[in-house]
Symmetry: D3
Subunit: 67 residues, 6 copies
Amino acid sequence: MPYVNIRITREGATPEQKAKLIEGVTRLLRETLGKNPATTVVTIDEVETDNWGIGGETVTARRKRGQ
Amino acid sequence: MPYVNIRITREGATPEQKAKLIEGVTRLLRETLGKNPATTVVTIDEVETDNWGIGGETVTARRKRGQ
Amino acid sequence: MPYVNIRITREGATPEQKAKLIEGVTRLLRETLGKNPATTVVTIDEVETDNWGIGGETVTARRKRGQ
Amino acid sequence: MPYVNIRITREGATPEQKAKLIEGVTRLLRETLGKNPATTVVTIDEVETDNWGIGGETVTARRKRGQ
Amino acid sequence: MPYVNIRITREGATPEQKAKLIEGVTRLLRETLGKNPATTVVTIDEVETDNWGIGGETVTARRKRGQ
Amino acid sequence: MPYVNIRITREGATPEQKAKLIEGVTRLLRETLGKNPATTVVTIDEVETDNWGIGGETVTARRKRGQ
């Protein structure tokens, strides 16, 4: 009954990509730790680039510089 | 001074229901553990069904199958 | 299939109190939002008083002052 | 490589204020604990006032009363 | 620069299993969303069975019943 | 009434350092966003190096290589 929270920047992940991510993490937990997929919960948070910082600056600022 | 985070799928919870949830959790923490309501914080995150997975698939996919 | 995380200071909550809290939150989610108890997950994090701050100081410091 | 999550009510924080917050927290972690800014991640969650409770009521209700 | 938090019950996961989980999630994020492994952070929280509830009861209680 | 969660590896942060961190973050939120220190909550999670991954490997493995 694991709970997994995945946080990424909101930059266009498609429903198909998110479905694959959920499927993949659930399978990984079964293969690695024997966790039951039926009670494995995965949530994905898409965070605005203004609200995500790394290296002391926002991702918005980094993207403007081409990073 | 507890902090409670409640995560549910975004499927139409009303402001009244959310207010009841906040009131109920705060009361429960006072009754069960003697926690001071004045400093009890409760946040509710409503997560898109595309971003919530259980059993290796999204809630969107489950809802389409009538689950 | 809600996920609830309750964070409290580690100050002697008993297994019985924690079981009551889990039972109470699960019931509240069913009564308020019709959520299925079978897939409602609740986790409790007990945080050391040195690691919890409010009003700009640790709970350890507050407890020493009798608060 | 710290990870910091800041949760505030959604009440008009500007991109400039959020950038300052990210910069300030990153600097604080370097000064206090010697953490490398390059791998310090900060995320900010802005939560609707209907979804934030304190003292057993929503922030929406408190704001209506002028608090 | 994704951030992933995996929460499992504390029931004997080995350092090798946890290392595999971290490696697997990081690879999955690269393959699914093109995320850079160098800045992908994964944390694992192992939660006591007294502090994890599902179906309104603790995992401790479930384990005693053989579930 | 912000809530801040700071996650660092468990590598010897002292109570004094943690108190400074709590004080500094609380002050930063007042200066940057005008948040009331009295209801600002900060929690610090210290995570074992076996349970923290970056670049697809655990911090334990990185430390062994001198990183």
